[in-house]
Symmetry: C2
Subunit: 408 residues, 2 copies
């Protein structure tokens, strides 16, 4: 008998009919001889409605109270889903994050999971229940309610799977799995059957929106095998797990893209070492997430440093950096460029296959697409291109590596 | 510095504007130099909406899951009320029933309070917070969520006042207090300034809808002084407290009425002692609450037993008793009468003043109103009259005891 954790997002439980659909799936999973724990989000729209209520009360709701308010959304879903299972003759109990022993720390509205005490869950499972647990929430040691921020329910599911030593954690969503590229962009993109945590991490952080990095990191840390699959059909999804040697046979696993990027360059810096810390400090203080960092020093020791960020942060970045430019001397100047996009090629096969970068650049050059910044990790190559070229760039790179054939 | 517990019902927090109104009141109470704990219900309509959702999922929602679902209503109110206080520059924290240490036992959807661990509440109060606590809920020792059933938020407030040794518990509602009679029935009814727990209990159980008996019993048991007052104005309300000798000076405190009553009579019973238990057992098994019980035995040992109940229970009562009648012998027969109402006269002064019953009967007789059943306690006389006569009966009895003058 396998123990399976299944996570259903807000869309999957967005209406009473969809709640019934999820109940049916859980019953089927039990009928196949498994123990099941479901982790559910608030019904879609509920959380937004609650935030709207809060905003009607005050322009700046306290994060402590927002957590108390928002945690009710999942609490409603779990009760309704349990009832739906009872209505079908199944056995189920709901538990809140607190009851599941999900102990958190950190800040309100973006709590982090510290530990899980699974005693009560084991007891309910031993009694033959389908366990319906509220995602996205936990409590501190002092009993304060925390929500876990964006992607919090995925994190709850992965963490519960780790604590319960589940055989697999299935993340149900509205797509069939992780694709070789966004199918809205690359028509012949195909679903990937299996990939490693590291590949999933690189894809998540380079634009693939399927899951947040921190859930994947958590799964990697505790060795939780998970599967991304569609709640509206029964197709097998994408399995994400520890790397195995056979995975290296595929040189490139997928291509991810991210639009709405902007670049800030500080040129003509004479003492780059001293100044880099100041630049990064000023951007961090302005709460701007920077992504790619490229630094270059010419023979005369004068340096250029470039950063990419979301286009919406460009104005704040300029404001934050302007005062520094004056300090950096008369030759220093700030250059900005919006309208960019990032294209990343990811695959652990890159470690053992040379020539991937050459293929990427040759392919883009052949298509007449200019490359701006370049950054790489051991299993990823990222380039910036003009946003207007991104779809074509994704397609030609996808084709160059035959991604519609080698995966799946 | 006094410690005041204030309870606000669903209507008082039914809109964002009303939540602001409550926040303002709490701030004012603090500005007057008090520590304040607010106990709040779900926004009016929210609980009904949640129950509707549950009914959409299943015809027979599990009570365990209904509790999980319904408890979210109060959790939303406390967060929003805290935010409203913050918005006005005040200091407040919300706590759920579980966080308030309200430990419950008994059945789901009608849990009972076992104990309260006020440590966290004392800590928040010591830090200068207005404490906003979810009414109507608690958790069992095992951590299961309980709601407390009808009037549950009043009970939460009284119980918190007891646990915190508050100076007073103010129950805010949509009326100015407890009246000598329902002002919609008796135009010159007046608000009672002060009455004893026992009088309040007799009035609650004989038709006055202001508070449930169990909250009053709890207050009596722990000596919690409480005040029923209006959340929409600042008039002083009705204080309910331990009896003091001066209270006996008022012979009759108030008149309460209850409509929609029915009577069932079993006549011609030859062995009443043996049969009474059977009759009461059959009614209890059918979950029928009976109220007045009047038994009479004639010289020949043949007895009549009558019971009053809500009119809606009459059909079930007939069904439950019919099989018994056959057992009781050929002379036994079942008589029923609907269209009745009860009128009760309540006052601890009755103990020391004779002639109250005589005045009641003479007054009703003078008005040509026939009395059916009669039952009494030490501080109450209850009679049944035809429902069509109840308003007139209430008025003449109210006048006979000068209730618009002697109270207040």
């Amino acid at each position: 008998m396998a123990l399976i954790v299944q996570k259903y997002g807000g869309t999957s439980v967005g209406t009473i009919d969809r709640i019934r659909n999820v109940a049916r799936r859980l019953m089927e999973t039990v009928a196949e001889g498994n123990q099941v724990v479901a982790v559910v989000s608030a019904m879609s729209g509920v959380t937004d409605g609650l935030i709207k209520l809060a905003k009607d009360v005050t322009a700046q709701p306290s994060e402590r109270e927002l957590d108390v308010l928002m945690a009710t959304g999942e609490q409603q879903s779990i009760a309704l889903l349990s009832m739906a299972i009872h209505d079908m003759g199944g056995k189920a109990v709901s538990i809140t994050g607190a009851q599941a022993g999900i102990c958190t720390f950190g800040s309100h509205t973006r709590g982090r999971i510290k530990s899980i005490k699974p005693d009560l869950m084991h007891q309910y499972l031993a009694d033959g229940n389908i366990l319906i647990c509220a995602g996205f929430q936990g409590t501190t040691e002092e009993g304060l309610i925390h929500t876990l921020g964006r992607g919090g329910s995925d994190l709850s599911a992965i963490a519960l799977a780790a604590a319960l030593k589940a055989d697999i954690c299935q993340i149900f969503t509205d797509v069939d799995g992780v694709y070789t590229c966004d199918p809205r962009v690359v028509k012949n993109a195909v679903k990937i059957d299996e990939l490693s945590y590291d590949e999933m991490l690189e894809m998540a952080s380079s634009g693939s929106k399927v899951m947040q990095s921190r859930s994947v990191e958590f799964a990697k840390k505790y060795g939780v095998v998970f599967e991304v699959r569609n709640s509206m059909n029964t197709h097998p999804g994408t399995i994400v797990k520890e790397e195995i040697p056979a995975m290296e046979a595929v040189v490139v696993r997928g291509v991810s893209i991210e639009r709405n990027q902007a670049r800030v360059t500080i040129a003509g810096i004479s003492e780059p070492v001293a100044y880099t810390a100041k630049i990064l400090g000023a951007l961090a203080e302005a709460e701007i997430n920077i992504d790619m960092i490229v630094a270059n020093t010419a023979h005369d020791g004068v340096a250029r440093q470039s950063f990419t960020m979301h286009m919406n942060d460009l104005g704040s970045a300029q404001a934050a950096l302007k005062p520094l430019i004056a300090e950096f001397g008369s030759s220093a100047k700030l250059e900005t460029e919006a309208g960019l996009a990032k294209l990343s090629v990811v695959g652990i096969g890159m470690r053992s296959h040379s020539g991937v970068a050459a293929t990427v650049f040759q392919t883009l050059a052949d298509a007449g697409i200019a490359v701006g910044m370049i950054s790489t990790s051991e299993i990823r190559i990222t380039v910036t291109v003009d946003e207007i070229d991104i779809e074509r760039a994704a397609q030609v790179v996808h084709d160059a590596f035959n991604l519609h054939r080698v995966n799946g």
